[in-house]
C-alpha cells in the first residue's frame, strides 16, 4: 500500500468568516476503505466536495489518483453526493447508463452494465420504471449504482446509508465490500458508527473543520481511556481510593443515584477492580466493563462539538 489514492495537504475552506475546513491533511492509500466521521457541520461534505473539485479550496493542495483535479481523472472516480436526486422522468436503467456514459463507457456496455447491476442488487423489476415511481430508498440505490457503473477505481460516497432500511443498509455494505474486493479505494462518510466499525480500514474523525483523529479503528479505540461502570453503595472517595482508579464520575441518571463511572489506568485489569471491591465489602448491584466501541470514541472525542452543533 505504497501508492496514495488521495492526498490532501493543508486544505482549508472558508465561507466568508466561517472556517468550514481548517488545514486538513489526509492520505488515503490505494485500496483502503476509509470512513469520514464527525458531527453535523463538521466539514465532511465540504471536504468531499473539495476532493471532487466541485468546490475550490481556499488554501492547500489536493491530489486525486495523482492528478491535481478530480475532473482530470473523473472517468476513474465514482461519486454519490450527500443530497440524493435523479431525473424523475427517466427510467432507472437509462439513468445508470447515462451517468456511465458520461464517464466514458460506450452506450452498449453502459446499458448491459445497468441491467446487470440492477439485477445483482435486487432492483431487477424496476429496471424500466421511471424514477418518480420508485421509493426514496430504491431511488437512492439506483443512484449508488449509477455512481459505480463505470467500475471506478476510486469511489466517494457521502452518507450512503442514510435513508436505507436495515436490509438495504446491509446491501449497501455489500456494495462497498464488493467494490473493495474488486480493488477500488473507497471513502464514505457516515453517522452510523457500527457501519464504519464493520467495514473501514481507517477512519478520519473531524469536528468544526479540524482533523481530530486519523488512523485505524484499533488506534482510535486506544485513544480513549478504559472505563468501568458500576452500581454500588459507596462514596466517591471510597471508590477513588481503589487501586488503579484514576477518576470517578457520578453518572447523571434520574433513576439511579448510585451509578458511577470509573476511569482506570491503562494496563489495569477490570477484573482486578472487581476483586478489590469484594475484598473491601462494597456491595455491587451491577458491574459493567465493555471494550470501547467506535461510538464511545466518537462521543469521547467529538461529543462536545456534536452537542454544540446541535444547539446552534
Amino acid at each position: 500500500m505504497s501508492e496514495l489514492a488521495l492526498e490532501l495537504r493543508g486544505v482549508s475552506k472558508h465561507y466568508g468568516d466561517l472556517k468550514a475546513v481548517r488545514e486538513v491533511d489526509i492520505a488515503v492509500p490505494a485500496g483502503a476503505i476509509y470512513g469520514f466521521l464527525g458531527p453535523n457541520g463538521a466539514g465532511k461534505t465540504t471536504t468531499i466536495r473539495m476532493i471532487l473539485d466541485i468546490v475550490k479550496p481556499t488554501a492547500g493542495t489536493i491530489s486525486v489518483l495523482g492528478a491535481p483535479s478530480a475532473l482530470d481523472v473523473r472517468e476513474r472516480i465514482g461519486y454519490l453526493p450527500e443530497e440524493k436526486g435523479l431525473y424523475k422522468k427517466m427510467k432507472a436503467s437509462s439513468i445508470i447508463a447515462y451517468f456511465a456514459g458520461l464517464k466514458g463507457i460506450d452506450r452498449k456496455t453502459a446499458r448491459t452494465r445497468a441491467y446487470e447491476l440492477l439485477e445483482r442488487y435486487g432492483l431487477k423489476d424496476f429496471a424500466d420504471a421511471k424514477i418518480e415511481t420508485l421509493s426514496k430508498g430504491m431511488g437512492q440505490k439506483v443512484q449508488v449504482l449509477a455512481s459505480i457503473a463505470h467500475q471506478p477505481e476510486f469511489v466517494i460516497l457521502d452518507e450512503p446509508f442514510s435513508g436505507l432500511d436495515p436490509v438495504n443498509q446491509q446491501v449497501m455494505e455489500d456494495v462497498i465490500k464488493d467494490l473493495s474486493k474488486a480493488g477500488s479505494t473507497i471513502i464514505f462518510s457516515t453517522h452510523v458508527m457500527s457501519h464504519a466499525e464493520r467495514i473501514c480500514d481507517r477512519i478520519l474523525l473531524i469536528a468544526k473543520g479540524t482533523k481530530i483523529f486519523d488512523g485505524t479503528i484499533d488506534e482510535a479505540k486506544k485513544k480513549i481511556p478504559n472505563r468501568v461502570r458500576l452500581q454500588a453503595d459507596a462514596g466517591n472517595d471510597q471508590l477513588r481510593a481503589l487501586p488503579g482508579v484514576l477518576q470517578v464520575d457520578a453518572v447523571e441518571d434520574d433513576l439511579h443515584e448510585d451509578l458511577w463511572d470509573l476511569t482506570i489506568e491503562e494496563g489495569a485489569e477490570a477484573q482486578q477492580i472487581l476483586q478489590t471491591c469484594f475484598a473491601q465489602g462494597i456491595t455491587l448491584r451491577s458491574f459493567d466493563h465493555n471494550e470501547p466501541t467506535l461510538h464511545d470514541v466518537f462521543v469521547e472525542l467529538v461529543g462536545e462539538d456534536a452537542r454544540e452543533a446541535q444547539k446552534r
Binding site: R49, L52, I54, V55, K56, A70, L71, R74, I77, Y79, L80, P81, E83, K84, G85, L86, Y87, K88, K89, M90, Y98, F99, G101, L102, K103, Q143, A146, S147
Partner: protein, 556 residues
C-alpha cells in the same frame, strides 16, 4: 465535447419524448387554423338571420331598398357559387374563369365585404344578379357549370340571407302610412322588445330592427320651384341650387330602431342604400342621366404602385410585395414566442437539476462548461425541431389551400418560402436563442425554485417586451432611427433585424449587427457561464447583485 453532446442528447430526448411537448408544438398551427374557421363560422353560421320591417311613409324608398338588399344578397351568393365552382373544377379547367365575366380580385384592402359586393354589382351589371335572387335562381348556373366539375362536386348550397325584410304586422292598430312616426314606433316596440313575435313561414321570429321613414324627410332636397331664387329662400340657405336646412327647420329624421347596439351591419347597409336611392332620384329629378353618372363614377385613373428598389421592368408592387413587407411581423412574433418558450424550458430544467441536486453528480462527471454547452445545444435542437414542425405544417396547409382562386394564400406561401426570409429567421433564432438562453440558464443556476426565478424574470421580460411593442411600427419605417438604433442593441438585434429583413436593410446594418450579435453572444455566454459555474452549486438565497459582480470578476 463528447460529454456536452451526451448532455445535449439527454436534454433533447427528455423533452422530445414527452407528449406535452408535441401537443404544445402542434397546438400552434391547430389553433391558428381553428381561429380562421371559428372566425368564418362566426361571420356566417353563427349570426342569425336579421328580420326587419320598413315603414316608408314617402312611398319612394321601400322598393328601391328591397331591390338593393336583394342584389347584394345575390352578389354575395354568386361569389360563394364562384368559389364552389373553383373548388370543384376538373384539373384542366383550373384557372379558367367561371361563366359571366371575371370576378374582381378580392383585394387585401377589401376587408369590408360590402365594398367588394358593390364593385361586383357595378362591374357585372345589376341584371345579371336579378335572376339569382329568387329561390332556384342558381339552378341554371349550376347546370351550366356541371360539365366542368368533378364527379364528387355534389350540390351547390345557396347561402341563406342574413337580412330579411318582413311585412308589417296586421295588428298594429294604426295606419302606419299616415300615423306620426313616433306612434308607429310605439306600435312596433312590443315586437322590437321581443314581447310579441312576427311570423315567417308559419314560424315565430323576433323582430331585429324597424326603419321608419317619415313622409317629409327628403322634400327639401327637391329642385327649387321655377322662379324661386337663392335669395328668396325662406326655409334655409341655398347654394348651387341645393337647399340646406338648419335648426328647427330640419325635417324629422329617419328612425332606425333596434335593441341590438353591437351589430350595426344592417344599419350601415340600410343607411348606405337610402343615401344611394336619394341621390339616384335627385339625379332623375334634375334631369341628369343616371346611367351616365354611374358610368362616370366607375371612371378611375389607372394607377400603379412602384418600388424603386426593384429591377427595371418589374417595379410594380404586387400583393406579394405587400405581404412580403408585412410578413416579418409574423416572423418576429414567432421568433419571440419560440425563443421564450425554449429558453424557459432551460430555466425550468436547470432549476429541477438544482433542486434535485443532480447537479453535483453531473459536475463530478462533466465540467460546468460542458454541462452548460450541452444544455444549450440540446434545447436549441428542441427549438429547431419545433420551428421545423411549424414550417412543415405551414407548408402543408398552404399547399393544401393554394389555388388560383386563393391568390393571397399562394402569395403568402411564396413570401414565407422566399429565399432570404427563412435562412434569416433560422440565423436570428439561433443567435437570439443562445443569448436569451444563457441569460435564462444563469438565472436558473442561481435560483432554487421557480418562484425565486420569477423575481429575476420580471426585469428580463421588461427588456424582452420591447421588440413586441415595436414590431408593428418597424416595417413602416424600416430604416428609421428607432429601427436602426434598436438593431444595434444585441438583445434586440434578432427581432428588429428580422423585422427589417424584408425591406433590404443597408449592408452595413445587416452585416454589422450580425457580427456584433455574434460577439455579443460570445460575451454573454462567457458572462453567464461564470455565473452558472458558481451559482449552480449554491444553495440558499439567490445572491445579491453585488455578489454576482464579484463572481464575474473572480469567477470562483
Amino acid at each position: 465535447m463528447r460529454n456536452a453532446l451526451m448532455v445535449a442528447a439527454r436534454e433533447y430526448a427528455e423533452n422530445a419524448r414527452t407528449k406535452g411537448f408535441w401537443i404544445g408544438i402542434l397546438m400552434v398551427p391547430v389553433l391558428l387554423v381553428g381561429a380562421v374557421f371559428v372566425m368564418r363560422w362566426l361571420a356566417s353560421d353563427a349570426t342569425p338571420t336579421r328580420h326587419y320591417v320598413v315603414v316608408d311613409q314617402t312611398g319612394r324608398y321601400e322598393d328601391a331598398l328591397q331591390r338593393r338588399m336583394d342584389l347584394r344578397y345575390a352578389a354575395s351568393a354568386f361569389s360563394s357559387y364562384s368559389s364552389w365552382v373553383q373548388r370543384n373544377q376538373k384539373e384542366e379547367f383550373k384557372g379558367v374563369e367561371v361563366d359571366l365575366e371575371s370576378m374582381p380580385a378580392m383585394n387585401l384592402a377589401d376587408f369590408n365585404a360590402d365594398t367588394f359586393l358593390d364593385r361586383l354589382i357595378e362591374e357585372q351589371g345589376e341584371e345579371k344578379f336579378e335572376a339569382l335572387i329568387e329561390p332556384g335562381g342558381f339552378d341554371e348556373l349550376v347546370e351550366q357549370a356541371r360539365p366542368r366539375l368533378v364527379e364528387t362536386a355534389g350540390e351547390f348550397e345557396v347561402p341563406r340571407r342574413f337580412f330579411r325584410s318582413l311585412p308589417l304586422p296586421a295588428d298594429l292598430g294604426i295606419d302606419p302610412m299616415t300615423a306620426k312616426p313616433d306612434e308607429v314606433a310605439e306600435a312596433l316596440k312590443p315586437y322590437l322588445r321581443g314581447e310579441k313575435e312576427m311570423q315567417v313561414d308559419g314560424k315565430p321570429v323576433q323582430l331585429f330592427a324597424a326603419l321608419i321613414i317619415p313622409a317629409e324627410v327628403d322634400e327639401h332636397f327637391d329642385p327649387l320651384p321655377e322662379g324661386e331664387t337663392e335669395s328668396s329662400g325662406v326655409i334655409g340657405d341655398v347654394a348651387d341650387g341645393i337647399r340646406a336646412l338648419t335648426g328647427a327647420n330640419q325635417p324629422p329624421p329617419v328612425q332606425y330602431w333596434s335593441g341590438n347596439l353591437a351589430d350595426s351591419d344592417l344599419f350601415e347597409r340600410l343607411r348606405g342604400n337610402l343615401d344611394r336611392e336619394l341621390r339616384q332620384s335627385q339625379f332623375v329629378k334634375r334631369g341628369i342621366d343616371v346611367g351616365l353618372v354611374a358610368g362616370v363614377q366607375r371612371m378611375a385613373l389607372p394607377i400603379k404602385k412602384l418600388d424603386p428598389d426593384k429591377e427595371t421592368g418589374k417595379e410594380e408592387v404586387s400583393q406579394a410585395d405587400v405581404l412580403r413587407e408585412n410578413a416579418p411581423i409574423g416572423f418576429v412574433y414567432i421568433l419571440w414566442i419560440s425563443i421564450m418558450q425554449v429558453a424557459s424550458m432551460l430555466l425550468n430544467n436547470t432549476i429541477e437539476e438544482k433542486s434535485n441536486r443532480i447537479i453535483e453528480v453531473l459536475l463530478s462527471s462533466v465540467t460546468a462548461w460542458e454541462l452548460m454547452a450541452g444544455k444549450l445545444l440540446g434545447i436549441a435542437a428542441i427549438g429547431l425541431t419545433m420551428l421545423l414542425t411549424w414550417i412543415a405544417s405551414a407548408a402543408a396547409m398552404l399547399w393544401y389551400w393554394a389555388s388560383p382562386e386563393a391568390e393571397a394564400i399562394t402569395n403568402l406561401a411564396s413570401v414565407i418560402f422566399d429565399s432570404t426570409l427563412l435562412p434569416a429567421f433560422v440565423f436570428y433564432f439561433l443567435l437570439g436563442y443562445f443569448m436569451y438562453a444563457s441569460i435564462f440558464l444563469a438565472i436558473g443556476s442561481i435560483c432554487n425554485t421557480i418562484k425565486e426565478a420569477q423575481n429575476f424574470m420580471g426585469p428580463v421580460m421588461m427588456i424582452m417586451i420591447v421588440p413586441i411593442l415595436t414590431m408593428a411600427f418597424i416595417p413602416k419605417d424600416p430604416h428609421g432611427t428607432l429601427a436602426t438604433v434598436l438593431s444595434w442593441i444585441p438583445l434586440y438585434t434578432p427581432f428588429v433585424m428580422m423585422n427589417r429583413a424584408a425591406a433590404d436593410p443597408p449592408a452595413f446594418d445587416l452585416y454589422g449587427t450580425a457580427i456584433m450579435l455574434v460577439f455579443a453572444n460570445i460575451a454573454m455566454l462567457w458572462l453567464c457561464g461564470r455565473i452558472f459555474r458558481t451559482g449552480i452549486l449554491r444553495t440558499g438565497q439567490p445572491p445579491r447583485f453585488k455578489e454576482l459582480l464579484g463572481w464575474l470578476r473572480r469567477g470562483d
